[in-house]
Amino acid sequence: MRVAAPVPDHLLDGLIAVTMLAMAWRLMTDPNLYRAIVLFVALGLFLAISWTRLAAPDIALADAAIGAGLTGVLLLDAIGHWDPSSTSMVVRRAELLQSVLLRVAPPRLSRVPAMLAVGGLAAVLVVSVGELPVSEGLRQVAHVNLGDSGVENPVTAVLLNYRGYDTWLEVVVLLLALLCVLVLRRSATLTGPEMPPFSPALSALARVAVPVALVIAGYVYAQGAHSPGGAFQAGAVIAAALVLLSLAGIPSLGLLRPVASRIAAVAAPAAFLAAIALTTTDGAVLEYRGTTAKAAIYLLEAAVAVGTAVTLLALFAASAPGRADEPGARPS
């Protein structure tokens, strides 16, 4: 696009920064939780815009899909569960601490220790950033070896070749999070209970949007080699499609045998383990170059996309409140 931008960059970036700060303040102080969650999703989209302004479109894609989209859905499910009339132990302890603080010092003064701590930490961080040594980092080395890495997108090269080990740990963390959620919710299956169709409008949207989403996911996955995109983004899009199907009451993964979804959920860590087993020589773990690298990256990306999609769907399915009652008639 070759449109001349009439707005100077600093003005636009400053506006975005100020809006994000105002939104963050507003969502933290809003007593209406539903409104706070909507603001959180909007903040996530602004985050994606600022990532784009910082020339990091890969992160922008992942942040918009997972950080804003799926997390917003999970938060909405959380307040769906929440019964404001019950007080849990954590809430009671927090109120006790607050009442003690208020008795010891008048309300305005009780905020001073927190403000001092936060101000001190901010000062330390600002000074440390100012004193960081000026260095190119590893950007030069990364670009020099890009030809050997099997892909043309430096972000994908870092994620799945240079630092493939870190990506492995990330997918293991995702799996651990899923296991914790399944244990806490005492879920029997990964895909959750079968839901009745919710609304004809939603079913119609699902029938149109899901095929488009799957094509887009495949496109983003394939583009990851030389453009912004890649495995996590593709996985997030597939997860969104599966969540939409689940909301519409159309069974998707539930039609397969449970063992299939379990295999899909552990596909990413298992693929990385296989890659480690196949490529470890003495002194190098997960080292591959040239055409082997290309094949390995495509396979690992496919595993990560599938694994991320199923994991995110399982996180959603585990937290969705039961829809036994009609919307709007839920007791509050």
Binding site: M1, R2, V3, A4, P6, N32, L33, Y34, P84, S199, A201, L202, A204, L205, V208, A209, V212, E326, P327, G328, A329, R330, S332
Partner: protein, 100 residues
């Protein structure tokens, strides 16, 4: 400026005006249904103008097609969301109050 760039900028401004109108509607209209009306109609039209303005300055036909697809998907999603919210608001009114 190139006339195509000028036309694109003008259409972007028109789209922005529609978005502002939609936002004013959300802030000023009295209840959920009228606010939904302002939100979806004005914002979809605004997005359409923005898409056309960008398409006039796109690099290739593929880019134009992608922009059009973005608009169509946004149309479908917001129409469905509008219907669902309106339906829930209607049911909520009938059963006596919505949850906070």
């Amino acid at each position: 400026m190139h006339p195509l760039e000028l036309a694109g900028a003008a259409l972007l401004l028109v789209g922005a005006a529609f978005f502002i109108a939609g936002t004013l509607g959300i802030l000023r209209f009295p209840d959920v249904h009228t606010r939904l009306h302002a939100l979806t109609k004005a914002d979809n039209l605004g997005l359409g103008f923005v898409v056309v303005g960008l398409a006039l300055n796109a690099d290739s036909v593929a880019d134009v097609a992608r922009l059009a697809m973005v608009w169509l998907l946004a149309l479908a999603a917001s129409a469905t969301a509008c219907q669902l919210i309106a339906r829930t608001a209607l049911r909520g009114d009938e059963s006596g109050g919505s949850r906070a």
